[in-house]
Amino acid sequence: MKILIADDSRVMRQIVSRTLRQAGFGGHDLVEAADGREALDKTVAENPDLVISDWNMPELTGVEVLRKLRATGNDVKFGFVTSECTTEMQEAAEAAGAAFFIVKPFTAERFDEVFSPILG
């Protein structure tokens, strides 16, 4: 599968990649985006199977990216990895069509729990 990891922190993108491997999901084709605009553009251009996105990013927030994708009929599996975990954000994510919501800091166990049903 192709997975797009969107986060404005390069270090956090690396940690998400590493945690995916630690959780047993190595071997997937990983693509990275460093802000919301790039996440939107690359989701359209690269057609990933899964988008793992930060919330608070320059250019566009993660939920804005998701709303724009859904508005154009793109139904890619999309979810958030974010340090912010308020009820209002989780509700906004769900309403926009997010498949999961992972809070930073996260562990490989949490990744396993969330991504096992998605990545197998």
Partner: protein
């Protein structure tokens, strides 16, 4: 509008402990040790601001050695392989993670900013309209690491008024 929000040192300690368990000390070998010394020195710091239902800043500060060690642990590389950009990125992310967790304790309607990183001691940045309301001061393998919470003074005054009302 202002609301009384109490994010105590123990709350900050719990958030920071989660960061250490997840990324910086997964084996539990080198935990943070609280000193309570709010005058401890720092070489670098990062912050995020929160505005809305609560307005203020969350500041992460440490020595350069602790920042390099944190970046090495985040990246799973040796300390001497860490670049200045890596250190800045990790410092920003540390403030962001703690800030996001603080925000989760606040009433709805708070916004979190993108992080700001300053490669200079914490004392180099002033928050003229805010005062420190909470702080976690500790050492990590002998190196200073702190997280502090600064609240806008206007809101603090409103809190006091509400308390005495």
């Amino acid at each position: 509008m202002s609301v009384e929000v109490v994010v105590k040192e123990s709350d900050l300690a719990e958030m920071v402990e989660q960061v250490w368990i997840s990324y910086l000390d997964p084996e539990g070998l080198n935990p943070l040790i609280t000193t309570g010394d709010d005058a401890q020195p720092s070489d670098v710091h990062s912050s995020v601001s929160i505005s809305g239902s609560w307005t203020g800043h969350i500041v992460y500060a440490s020595s350069t050695a602790a920042a390099k060690r944190a970046a090495a642990a985040f990246l799973a590389v040796e300390v001497d392989e860490v670049s200045p950009d890596d250190i800045a990125d990790v410092l920003g992310e540390l403030a962001n993670i703690v800030g996001g967790n603080v925000k989760a304790m606040l009433p709805a309607g708070a916004m979190l900013s993108l992080p700001q990183v300053v490669m200079a001691p914490e004392s180099a940045t002033r928050y003229p309209s805010a005062e420190r309301v909470s702080g976690l001061y500790s050492v990590w393998e002998g190196e200073p690491v702190s997280v502090s919470l600064w609240q806008r003074r206007e809101d603090k005054k409103d809190d006091k008024k509400e308390e005495s009302a």
